[in-house]
């Protein structure tokens, strides 16, 4: 099993969700986050005051997938999240040892 974490542009959430659903990924966690990579921040002046947004709003998606679905999911996320501009985001993959469904104690991939 692999945990897929993707940090994407807020505006791409619906497209990424649809792309993942199309390849059979149903469960995911979505978190509103702030951050920046190379994109850095943004400054706006309003009435003489400076409003600096050094951490930009992003969406972080997390899901744990069976290994045979991981590559497809990565492609789906990258394809749907890409605008070609700086700030499109990143995908991180990490191994997961086990998963437990709290309701009935199922373990491993069946718990996903």
């Amino acid at each position: 099993m692999t945990k897929v974490e993707a940090v994407i542009q807020t505006s791409r959430l619906d497209a990424v969700k649809t792309a993942l659903q199309d390849i059979g990924v149903e469960g995911m966690t979505v978190i509103e986050v702030r951050g920046h990579g190379r994109q850095k921040g943004h400054t706006e002046f309003y009435r003489g005051r400076e409003y600096t947004v050094d951490l930009l709003p992003k969406i972080k998606m997390e899901m744990v997938l069976p290994d045979d679905l991981v590559e497809k999911a990565v492609q789906a996320i990258a394809g749907a999240a890409r605008t070609g501009k700086i700030g499109d985001g990143k995908i991180f993959l990490s191994r997961i040892d086990d998963a437990i469904r709290i309701r009935n104690d199922e373990r491993g991939e069946t718990a996903l």
């Binding site: 807020t10 505006s11 986050v33 706006e44 002046f45 009435r47 003489g48 409003y51 709003p57």
Partner: protein, 859 residues
């Protein structure tokens, strides 16, 4: 023995359950379960403690809490007190108590046993108020009757009389905390019928407060029903019986002590007719309306009693109460924060009632129960007597902008009065919608949104401070508040698109209230677009195209402010977590980006012949004879001009432009709601803006806002909004003509305005600034395709606008567009400048910056 008791318990519980499901009579079910547990407890007492039901001496079994009140719900805890007078702490005695308790647990009862010496009951532990409160409901079960009598007749009254103040204050404290947890409202989509405001816990509060007050005053347990006002006794009892039946139903349905009235439970309760006449066929929505009516009956008695608790008399509190009492006048008296009508006929006087609700909205008071009762009685006879149309709107808009408007609206709504004026709201009356995002009923959500907006006056976070600032700048906050009140009305109407429904209902409502076309358009726009910011936040809000498209849709800075505030208040009212800092920050970022876009792109879109514009079409419909002249006048004016002026104003400007060949300086002075307004239509000429600003300064006028536009024919339309600091024009009406003549003469070059301004400023006493504003001058050559945009932020002071515009005039810069605003002591001015028909190049910008800095430096 235990097996026979288990069988008895199980079969009796089944019987009680079956009977309840057949009759839905909750009172009978809880009485029967109480009786059953009494019997079981007595048998076990005889088995393990004493064969004699009234023995042994100095030891007694007492039912406390809900069990003591004989209100044992199907899955409620059984509270037992083993009370002794010493001598029952040895191992053998403890073992007897343990065995009795063990047997009850084995019967699957949720037992909460406590063993106490009677001396321990005489002390109030502030950290364990529950124990003292549970004693108030103590009921004898078995054992020494004398010991119980000492507890009931002597110890409890003594304890209450000694500790009354502390007990009631603690009770009020825990109740306030509990109500706060539920957002201080009964109107939840899935209420907890025990803990929510208006639930059974509030009934308990009423019961305990009456008991405590009776004991304190009469040294004995009073007849509680007699202490409730006769007018509400019946409603209160009816509400209690209803809640008892619903709680029994929930316990049987969930199989445990779960008191949440979920959507599924609501639907089932409605179809079974729990708590209502069985024959009636009732929808889930209507069944919930009955729930809210009953919850409100309980809640209002609880709140009334809590407010009557004598506070521990801090001088500050006394002062506050005295201050509130001083609000009393010939029509209303104010007692403990409650309004009481002074005259018996007051409840039938519509004008008086409207001013009472306005009074409530101003001062954050509640209606006294007696007042509510009189209004309820007068209800039907009031229909048709209230002012209608524009007359009603005049009252209502003042109520909407008052700081406690939401409380007044809730009170009017509960009494059915709001629906008399705004029948559109009946569709969302206590309406539960199945939506996991929302927590409150649709009407409460709308009131809460209004409350959240007014709460911006007392900001408690960074976002609230920012949004609070723009709330304070609104010219017509009542329009935003009206939009909030009506924005979700469509949720109660047929159809899938609630926005469409809200718009249809609102249009009728606003027309009936005789709002002007421009005001109706604004409210309509806000309702139509109340989801627009949320939709835009799903796009990239740092992308210029997103911001530009959004700003274009919004059109004017005033509408942008209102829409941002509406979105803020709407989301915040969905549930306490809905407006995350992430979301608030994003709304703010979109707001400032769009605000800058609107101020810096004014000349990008201008009116030209052949370009279809809704506003132009409307003008042509209103005045078809003027179509050609309107077209000529508008040619080349920024679209912003059209969006910020009503058709009536535009037509008046057209007429002024048509009169230019009689008199080349056309002036119009009128008194607006907040300010005086001077409009000038004339052919453009050098230093024109500076001269008018100068004349206003010499008359001591404080310019709050201004805008200046120019069409392709070189005719300018400048409007100055100002306050008359010395009330010169108000107190001397004939001075208006001299004032206008002075403006004309100055523009004609007959008056040396520079000299007059210098004289005026020399004579004027300069007051030190309360807030220091640093001057900022910002040039932007990219924002506009034709002009250099200059934004100046500076300390507001007399003559400021004249000074700035004179600098531009001396540098031979023409003001194409000016957008002048004042926020507190800060002047925020944007000018679109051109020199010799082009943008300002670098050296020119530096020259202007240097002169401006010199002129604006505070000496």
């Amino acid at each position: 023995m235990i097996s026979s008791l288990r069988e008895l318990h199980s079969s009796s519980c089944s019987l009680i359950r079956a009977k309840f499901l057949e009759t839905l009579d909750g009172c009978s079910a809880i009485a029967q379960r109480t009786q059953l547990i009494d019997d079981l407890a007595l048998r076990l007492w005889r088995e393990f403690i004493s064969e004699d039901a009234e023995g042994p001496s100095r030891f007694v079994l007492v039912a406390t809490g809900g069990y003591g009140r004989s209100m044992l719900f199907p899955s409620s805890d059984v509270d037992l007190l083993f009370l002794h007078e010493g001598g029952w702490s040895d191992k053998e005695s403890k073992d007897k108590i343990r065995r009795l308790s063990q047997e009850m647990w084995d019967l699957k009862l949720r037992l909460s046993p406590q063993t106490r010496a009677i001396s321990e009951c005489d002390r109030l532990d502030p950290n364990n108020l529950e124990f003292t409160i549970s004693l108030l409901d103590a009921r004898y079960l078995a054992g020494d009757r004398d010991l119980f009598a000492r507890l009931r007749r002597s110890l409890i009254p003594r304890l209450v009389m000694r500790e009354y103040q502390l007990i009631v204050e603690k009770l009020a404290e825990v109740t306030q905390a509990r109500h706060g947890k539920f957002g201080n409202t009964i109107f939840h989509l899935e209420p907890n019928i025990k803990e929510s405001p208006g639930g059974l816990r509030d009934y308990n509060i009423v019961h305990w407060l009456l008991l405590l007050s009776g004991i304190e005053k009469m040294r004995t347990s009073p007849d509680q029903q007699a202490l409730i006002s006769p007018a509400f006794r019946e409603q209160f009892t009816e509400a209690l019986n209803y809640l008892i039946s619903v709680r029994c139903f929930l316990h049987y349905r969930h199989g445990r002590d779960d008191n949440t009235l979920t959507w599924e439970a609501q639907a089932e309760a409605a179809s079974r007719g729990v708590g209502v006449e069985k024959e009636s066929d009732i929808s889930t929505e209507d069944w919930m309306r009955i729930y809210f009516r009953h919850a409100r009956s309980i809640q209002r008695v609880a709140i009334q009693l809590l407010s009557e608790i004598p506070a521990s008399r801090s001088s500050l509190y006394r002062e506050f109460q005295n201050w509130r009492s001083r609000l009393s006048n010939s029509n209303f008296s104010v007692v403990n924060g409650f309004i009481l009508l002074q005259q018996t006929g007051g409840a039938k006087d519509p004008e008086l009632l409207l001013s009472m609700f306005q009074f409530m909205a101003e001062h954050g008071l509640r209606l006294g129960i007696a007042t509510e009762q009189r209004l309820e009685q007068a209800g039907a006879s009031l229909a048709g007597k209230f002012p209608k149309g524009g007359a009603f709107w005049k009252h209502f808009r003042e109520l909407l902008i008052a700081p406690h408007a939401a409380d007044a609206l809730r009170a009017m709504h509960f009494l059915g009065l709001l629906n008399l004026f705004l029948p559109e709201l009946a569709a969302i009356d206590s309406l539960v919608i199945r939506d996991y995002y929302h927590r409150f009923t649709v009407d409460e959500h709308s009131f809460r949104a209004i409350e959240n907006l007014h709460a911006l006056r007392r900001p408690s976070s960074e976002w609230e401070e920012r949004f609070g600032e723009i709330f304070g700048e609104l010219e017509q906050p009542e329009l935003l508040l009206m939009a909030l009140l009506l924005h979700d009305v469509g949720k109660g109407l047929p159809g899938d698109d609630h926005v469409k429904g809200s718009l249809e209902a609102s249009w009728n409502c606003l027309t009936r209230l005789e709002l002007s076309q421009a005001d109706r358009d604004t409210v309509y726009f806000l309702i139509a677009n109340h989801l627009e910011i949320s939709a835009t936040l799903r796009k990239d809000i740092f992308d210029h195209n997103t911001v530009e498209a959004f700003a274009e849709k919004v059109g004017t800075p005033e509408r942008l402010k209102m829409l941002a505030l509406l979105t803020y208040a709407d989301i915040k009212s969905v549930n306490p977590e809905a407006l995350s800092p992430w979301k608030a920050e994003n709304i703010w970022q979109l707001y400032i980006a769009a605000s800058n876009q609107l101020n810096r792109s004014v000349d990008q879109h201008t009116v030209h012949a052949g370009v279809k514009d809704e506003n132009v079409t409307r003008l042509n419909l209103i005045a078809p004879a003027l179509e050609k002249k309107v077209k000529q006048f508008l040619e080349g004016l920024p679209e912003r001009y059209l969006k910020t002026h009503s058709p009536e104003e535009v037509l008046s400007h057209v007429e002024m432009a048509n009169s230019l060949y009689h008199d080349p300086i056309q002036l119009n002075l009128r008194k607006g709601r907040h300010w005086l307004e001077l409009t000038l239509v004339t052919p453009d000429r050098p230093a024109l803006f500076a001269k008018v600003a100068g004349v206003l300064s010499t008359w001591g006028m404080n310019i709050i806002k201004a805008n200046a536009f120019c069409n392709d024919a070189g005719v300018i339309v400048d409007t100055f909004f100002f306050t008359d600091r010395f009330r010169t024009l108000e107190l001397n009406v004939h001075e208006c003509d001299r004032f206008k003549r002075n403006v004309s003469e100055t523009l004609a070059g007959d008056v040396d305005v520079e000299r007059l301004v210098s004289q005026r400023l020399r004579n004027e006493r300069q007051l030190p600034a309360k807030v220091k504003i640093n001057t900022k001058i910002d040039f932007d050559n990219d924002a506009s395709p034709h002009s250099t945009v200059v934004q100046v932020i500076a300390q507001d002071r007399p003559g400021l606008l004249h000074k700035m515009s004179s600098v531009f005039a001396h540098a031979e810069c023409n003001i194409e567009i000016a957008l002048i605003e004042t926020e507190g002591q800060m002047a925020i001015d944007v000018f679109y400048l051109r020199t010799a028909g082009a943008k300002l190049d670098g050296p020119k910008q530096e020259e202007v910056r240097a002169h401006l800095s010199e002129q604006l430096s505070i000496t």
